[in-house]
Each structure stands twice: as structure tokens, then as C-alpha cells.
């Protein structure tokens, strides 16, 4: 008890300290996965359920304009849908930490201020990478194929980049709801339409033209279209809009816009929380 510990250096921030503290927070968030395996298991089961339901129940009833296999059409959309829901997982994690008082503990420590948020968003990316691997394996099982390995890696990277952006949306949402239950409701209400008002399950040609435009610019759709294009999966373009013609570019634009909006907003909210 008498040994002296060097006084911690004044923790004003600094890139090294921010990186170290963020890693620690990320480690702590990821530890949760093996300790509550049910969370990941149900997340995966839910996605596989979507694959099976749409591939075998609706698949036959949904023709792809220009031809092509519905399952090959569906899988990139399922991956995209999962990544959009990454926001939900980040939000619930954030709300849970706030509710349990852990955030108070963090805020009373001389740690780098943004580390809680950076650690949270990065751990979501790693978590999603794991889920994606399992989903891709199940995709191969139902007959989804990619024409080259380089494209697969690039698509995987794009999905994770998008997951990172969505995690910031989630962190922001998570700090604005009082309880985990409300977080669950809010996410369902916000994210469900975002994933369904898109080209994930149906070709956009079937939509009324005004809705087609909205759905086409929906980031879920641009991400899905970009993946289909990269991987050589059926990608029926509904129009000649920029979103339909250059989905990869528009998706990268979305990533930048989302982070540029929700990053600073989240940091500001975290600073002022409960003040």
C-alpha cells in the first residue's frame, strides 16, 4: 500500500493517449460478445432467417429485370441490411452503458474524452466483420457467388466502412434515449424503413416513380448496388440517376456525410451529457 505510483500525466488528450484509451474501451466492448454469446447468435440467426425466407418464399415471385438468380441478387442486400442495423447495436450498447452508470465512471477518470465513442464505433466494426463472415458462408450455401477474390475483399472493406459510419449514427441515437427499451423501439422505427425502402429485397422498377427516386438514393440501396456491381451479381438499374449509375461513389459520399454529421454531434452530446 505504501509504494507510490507515478501521478498520471495530465491527460489533456493527445493522439497516443486517445488511441490507447480507445483500444481499451474497444477491448472492453468486445469482451461482451463471448460473455453473452446469445446476442451474436441471434443476430446471425435473424439474418439467416431473412436469407431463407426471401430466397425460398418470395424469391420465386420476384422476377429480376434483365434476368439473373434472385439469391445472387438478394445476398449483397442482406449484407447491407445487416450493416445498417449495426447502428442499432451501437445505440443499445451506448444506452446500456449510460443507464448502468459506467459512463459516469469513465467520465470521472482522466481518460481521453472521445475514447468512449471511438472505442465503441471501432468495436462495432470488428463485431460486424465477424457477423459478415458467417453470413457470407451461409450465402455461399444458398448459391451466392462472387466472380473474383479481389472484388470480395473490396466489398468486404466497403461494408465495414459503412458499418463504421452507421455506428456513429447509433452512438448518437443511443445518447438521446433514456432506456435500452426505448433504444430498441427507436431503432426499429428508424432503421426498418431505411432497409426496406430500398433495393435489398425487390428491384426498384416495381416502385412508383417518386418512391423509386427516394429508394434509389437511400444509402442502403447505393451500398447494395455497389456490392452487386463489384461482385458481378444481378444489379438491375431502375433509372439513369447518379445514385443508380455510380453507386460506389455515392456510397462513399454517404459514408463521409454521415460521419461528418454524426461524429461531431455525438462528441458534443457526450461532452454535455447530464449537464
Amino acid at each position: 500500500m505504501t509504494a507510490t505510483i507515478a501521478r498520471p500525466a495530465l491527460a489533456a488528450g493527445g493522439i497516443r493517449q486517445t488511441a490507447r484509451d480507445s483500444l481499451l474501451i474497444g477491448w472492453r466492448n468486445l469482451k461482451r460478445i463471448p460473455r453473452i454469446p446469445e446476442l451474436a447468435i441471434f443476430a446471425i440467426l435473424q439474418s439467416i432467417m431473412f436469407v431463407l425466407l426471401f430466397a425460398y418464399v418470395f424469391g420465386g415471385a420476384i422476377p429480376i429485370p434483365g434476368g439473373g438468380d434472385y439469391k445472387a441478387f438478394l445476398m449483397p442486400g442482406i449484407f447491407a441490411q445487416n450493416i445498417v442495423f449495426a447502428a442499432g447495436i451501437a445505440a443499445i450498447g451506448m444506452t446500456d452503458d449510460l443507464q448502468k452508470g459506467i459512463i459516469d465512471r469513465f467520465r470521472s477518470l482522466p481518460m481521453a474524452r472521445p475514447a468512449v465513442l471511438i472505442g465503441r464505433t471501432f468495436s462495432e466494426v470488428i463485431y460486424n466483420a465477424g457477423i459478415l463472415v458467417v453470413l457470407m458462408a451461409s450465402g455461399v450455401f444458398v448459391g451466392w457467388r462472387v466472380n473474383e477474390l479481389g472484388a470480395l475483399v473490396a466489398g468486404f472493406g466497403l461494408l465495414l466502412l459503412f458499418a463504421y459510419a452507421m455506428a456513429w449514427v447509433g452512438v448518437f441515437l443511443g445518447m438521446h434515449v433514456p432506456t435500452v427499451e426505448v433504444a430498441n423501439q427507436a431503432i426499429f422505427t428508424v432503421l426498418f424503413p431505411i432497409t426496406f425502402l430500398s433495393n435489398v429485397f425487390v428491384p426498384l422498377q416495381t416502385l412508383p416513380s417518386w418512391l423509386q427516386l427516394v429508394a434509389e438514393w437511400n444509402p442502403t440501396s447505393t451500398l447494395t448496388a455497389a456490392l452487386r456491381e463489384m461482385w458481378g451479381n444481378p444489379n438491375p438499374e431502375a433509372s439513369t440517376s447518379l445514385a443508380a449509375q455510380e453507386p460506389l461513389l455515392v456510397t462513399l459520399g454517404w459514408v463521409v456525410v454521415i460521419i461528418a454529421i454524426f461524429g461531431p454531434l455525438s462528441v458534443r452530446r457526450y461532452r454535455s451529457i447530464s449537464r
Binding site: 495530465l10 469482451k31 443507464q99 452508470g101 459506467i102 465512471r105 470521472s108 482522466p110 432506456t179
Partner: protein, 329 residues
């Protein structure tokens, strides 16, 4: 030298319909190496005060310093000197006890090796060594609270804030917690402690400040407060309603002060300066008159008595404090 000072702290919580003045001008001063007990009912403003001093909350008015540093302008420096343990054990349920301490130690900017060594020491000190590698979810309430206190001590803070450290604990765990806190104080830690229990403040604090509705309404040592309340009382419950008159005569004769009667329960209360001696006398005289009694005893003043005498109302809950938890979410 004052380790903690506060002048005119005001905190207002606004909701859509109304605003609650959680703090309405709190002044405090805690000398280095001493213990201040903030005593008050739920919603009095105890937690809000601690949260401001621990840099979690900004005051709307007034200023406060911790170790001479301003709680708003020099918050990050203050965080290197303090430890905070709240009424809700803020530890990670999905990590083990050891992992929790290691994580908080590292975030306190100790090196990994230092944090590991410090975690071992604390696990030992708080008798958690056997449970160290179990996930916290499996801990009892008392164990969680000890781990939470251990987490607050990870960086050997000079100043410690404990917000209701024993609320919700069983009597045995409470006594254990008191021992731990006393050891810390003996080692020279300055402590600000909040509690709803007069007994706890009495046991642990050098000075007590009584808080109600966001204001400090009295301060002094435990003895000073108790004498303000009027010290011990004798309470008698007579068996037959007919005996009430005779019993009150005895009590008026043997004790000094106002005799009060609760008609409904046949309970007679009177201040007893002479303590146990007076009690013996009262029992003898009632016995000589053959007045059968259901209950008799010496009652020490409680938080309720302190409040009753200071404010004229009992220490009932008003719910502001739970409001500011909600705000944190």
C-alpha cells in the same frame, strides 16, 4: 487547507413542464484529511453536489474547487486526483472483477503492469481474491459495492467521493464497508460521503452537513446536531387507556421537557437528559403505581428527528434525485 470548497452552487433541472432547483446555493468546505458527511433524504441534492464536485456535472451558478483546482476549468486535472463511487455500482457486469480493476487502472493512465499489480492489491484488500476471475454478474450486492469502491481507489486518490456507499446493503456488509472506509480515512484520504443514515454519518464523519431541498440547513459534529435535536427520549406505551394520565404524571415528574402523547397508540414521549438512569427511575415509579406497560425504551435521535426539529417536516422522499439519474441517461 481546504481540500474541497463550494460557494453558492446552484443546479436547475428543466423539464418541459417545470424546473427543479436541485441545488439552491450550497456552500461547503472540507479540510484535508477530514470526512464530511452530507446527510439528507432522497432528492435533497446530495448526489447532484457530488456529481458537480467530481466534474460530472456543471453548476448553473456558483463555483467549487477540489484540491485548489476549479471543477469546471480544470476538470481533467481534478480527475487525476479523485476517486468516485456512486450509489449504483458502476462496474462492468460482463467483465471479471480483475478485468474491471485492470481496465479502470489503465484508463486512470497507469501502465498495464501497474494496473495489474494495483488490481491484485485491491482484490486482496476487499476480500475479492476468490471471486477475482468470475464475471461480475455473479457477484452479490455487497461484493459489487466493494468492487466499485475498489475501482474508485485504483489510482490511490487523495480525495474520495462516496455517494451513499451502504444504501441497499445488508447490516453485515454495511459494517464491513464502514471498516474499509475508516481504514482509508486513517491513511489520510479526504472523504466526502453522502448518506441517508444519521448513524452512518455519526460513525464516519468528522463534520456533518444536513441538506434539504438543495440547501444546507445545519452543520456541525454529530454531537452538536444531536443536542440540537434534544438528545435521547423515553418512549412508553401503556397497556390501558385509563392509565395514560397517571403515566404522564410520572414522566413529567421524572423528566424535564414536554411530554407528548399519541392518543391512538397510547405512546408517550419525553426528552430524557439523564439517559438510562432516568429510564430506570421511570420504570420503578410506573411499577410502584402498578401501571402495566406494553413497551418502554430509550430512543436515540434519528435522521427523522433531526429533520423534524430542523425543518418541521419528516425526511420524506421527494424524488428529485431520481430525476437527475434519468437526466444522465
Amino acid at each position: 487547507m481546504s481540500a474541497i470548497t463550494a460557494e453558492g452552487l446552484v443546479k436547475i433541472y428543466r423539464t418541459r413542464k417545470n424546473e427543479v432547483r436541485a441545488l439552491d446555493g450550497i456552500d461547503l468546505s472540507v479540510d484535508e484529511g477530514t470526512v464530511l458527511g452530507l446527510l439528507g433524504p432522497n432528492g435533497a441534492g446530495k448526489t447532484t453536489t457530488v456529481r458537480i464536485l467530481a466534474t460530472l456535472l456543471r453548476p448553473d451558478a456558483g463555483r467549487a474547487t477540489v484540491a485548489g483546482l476549479d471543477v469546471v476549468a480544470q476538470a481533467q486535472q481534478i480527475r487525476t486526483l479523485i476517486g468516485l463511487s456512486g450509489q449504483y455500482a458502476a462496474v462492468d457486469e460482463n467483465l471479471t472483477g480483475r478485468e474491471n480493476l485492470w481496465l479502470f487502472g489503465q484508463l486512470y493512465q497507469l501502465s498495464s503492469a501497474e494496473a495489474r499489480q494495483r488490481a491484485d492489491e485491491l482484490l486482496d484488500q476487499f476480500e475479492l481474491t476468490d471471486a477475482a476471475d468470475r464475471v461480475v454478474k455473479t457477484y452479490s450486492g455487497g461484493m459489487r459495492r466493494r468492487l466499485d469502491l475498489g475501482s474508485a481507489l485504483i489510482g490511490r486518490p487523495r480525495l474520495l467521493f462516496l455517494d451513499e456507499p451502504t444504501t441497499g446493503l445488508d447490516p453485515r456488509s454495511r459494517l464491513g464497508m464502514w471498516d474499509v472506509i475508516r481504514d482509508l480515512v486513517r491513511a489520510g484520504t479526504t472523504l466526502l460521503l453522502t448518506t441517508q443514515y444519521l448513524e452512518e454519518a455519526d460513525e464516519l464523519a468528522d463534520t456533518i452537513a444536513v441538506v434539504d431541498h438543495g440547501k444546507i440547513i445545519a452543520r456541525g459534529t454529530a454531537d452538536e446536531l444531536k443536542s440540537q435535536v434534544g438528545g435521547e427520549r423515553i418512549e412508553v406505551v401503556v397497556h390501558r387507556r385509563d392509565d395514560v394520565g397517571r403515566a404522564m404524571e410520572v414522566l413529567t415528574r421524572d423528566c424535564e421537557g414536554d411530554v407528548t402523547l399519541d392518543e391512538h397508540t397510547r405512546r408517550i414521549t419525553v426528552p430524557a437528559r439523564g439517559g438510562a438512569q432516568t429510564l430506570v427511575q421511570v420504570v420503578r415509579h410506573l411499577d410502584e403505581l402498578s401501571v402495566p406497560i406494553d413497551d418502554i425504551g430509550l430512543r436515540r435521535p434519528t435522521l427523522d428527528d433531526v429533520f423534524l426539529s430542523l425543518t418541521g417536516h419528516a425526511a420524506e422522499e421527494s424524488g428529485t434525485e431520481s430525476g437527475d439519474r434519468g437526466k444522465a441517461a
